[in-house]
């Protein structure tokens, strides 16, 4: 087993509510993180990602200018953002399935429902760090593999191709066959 050195992790927290940003910042600082940058809307969230190159983004869904789902999509677009592999934890008061699916399909790494707790936030970060998910690219999606379970016997049209563990840092380098 290994422990997380939070002082090595840089966060951006995007939430339009100042109180919620303060709560999340308090939790992260108590975990041991020292570099936490805040953004109050989707646009400034994207700017902060570009400016500070965080290790993890924590974002609300409902925000002015553009929301957390759009922010996630923009980050996952390698033509629009320099950090398409950035782990993204969506932290939202939306708990309905449709919102979880929307976040997942935009490329979110983890989803966490408000009210936030120290335990739940820690576990999501731990998952991001200790159990990183492979990235996949399809015609309509680039992001963490949305499957949590790998069935080695699956042979349908959505089966994964390519060698597991291929370490291709730039998603633009991955060519899809026509």
């Amino acid at each position: 087993m290994a422990k997380i050195a939070f002082d090595e992790l840089r966060f951006v927290v995007a939430d339009d509510n100042a109180h919620m940003r303060r709560i999340v910042r308090t939790l992260l600082r108590a975990f041991g993180s020292r570099e936490i940058y805040e953004a109050e809307d989707g646009a400034s969230g994207l700017e902060a990602v570009e400016a500070y190159s965080p290790d993890i983004l924590i974002t609300d869904i409902t925000m002015p200018i553009f929301d957390g789902i759009e922010l996630t999509r923009m980050i996952r677009n390698p033509e629009g953002c320099r950090h398409p592999f950035l782990p993204i934890i969506v932290l939202s008061a939306y708990s309905e399935k449709k919102h979880v699916i929307a976040a997942r399909d935009a490329g979110a790494t983890e989803f966490l429902c408000k009210p936030v707790s120290a335990t739940a936030l820690y576990r999501r970060i731990q998952n991001v760090v200790s159990n990183p998910r492979d990235f996949v690219r399809t015609k309509s999606y680039f992001g963490p593999d949305r499957r949590r379970y790998v069935n080695p016997n699956y042979s349908g049209v959505e089966r994964r191709t390519g060698a597991p563990g291929d370490n291709i840092v730039d998603p633009n380098q991955v060519e899809l066959e026509a």
């Binding site: 992790l9 709560i23 398409p84 760090v129 492979d134 690219r137 399809t138 049209v157 089966r159």
Partner: protein, 178 residues
């Protein structure tokens, strides 16, 4: 690379890498993960406890914002933008009221969000029921009804939840019959 032809949207799913960002190497250190996690979570809960001296002020601010959004929405004839702002204020409060110590305010705001979000015809939003939700939140906060033990506040939250459910069912039936 394999090509699949039966589903244009999902074919050619390519596993492109392990994560792009290797946070394991960056911030995992030898040590007892469970013990470190428990210590970090305990520190975070203590930090939230220290922060909680602000929570009563914060919930008052948020409930005032909710009331202001309600007043603005009324003045604007419940225009689309005004209604969105009212939903946003209720949603913000829903997301943090439990953390701030007022789970019943969270429940009431969840009911108000459901009312605004689910009603098939926004022009039929019941102003009285909106008022009752907003005034109930303010009453819960004014009474300092923390936790879920306050009998009056509990009954109020449940009653609003039930009335909203009945009303939405009627509206759905009406919309279906039209």
């Amino acid at each position: 690379m394999q090509q699949h032809s039966s589903n244009a949207n999902t074919a050619m799913t390519r596993q492109v890498n392990k994560t792009g960002i290797n946070l394991r190497d960056k911030c995992l250190r030898p040590g007892d993960d469970n013990e470190a996690a428990q210590q970090a979570i305990t520190r975070a809960e203590q930090a939230l406890e220290h922060l909680s001296v602000n929570f009563d002020d914060w919930i008052v601010t948020e409930s005032r914002q909710l009331a202001k959004s309600r007043d603005d929405a009324k003045a604007a004839g419940f225009s689309e933008n005004a209604l969105r702002d009212l939903f946003q204020a209720a949603h913000n409060l829903k997301g943090q009221a439990t953390t701030l110590g007022y789970p019943l305010a969270d429940e009431i705001c969840a009911s108000l969000c459901r009312l605004i979000d689910k009603i098939p015809d926004k022009s039929r939003l019941p102003l009285l029921l909106i008022d009752q939700h907003v005034d109930a939140v303010r009453a819960v906060v004014a009474e300092g009804a923390k936790g879920t033990d306050n009998p009056k506040a509990s009954v109020l939250a449940k009653r609003l939840h039930d009335v909203t459910g009945d009303f939405l069912a009627q509206e759905a039936a009406r919309a279906g019959a039209a």
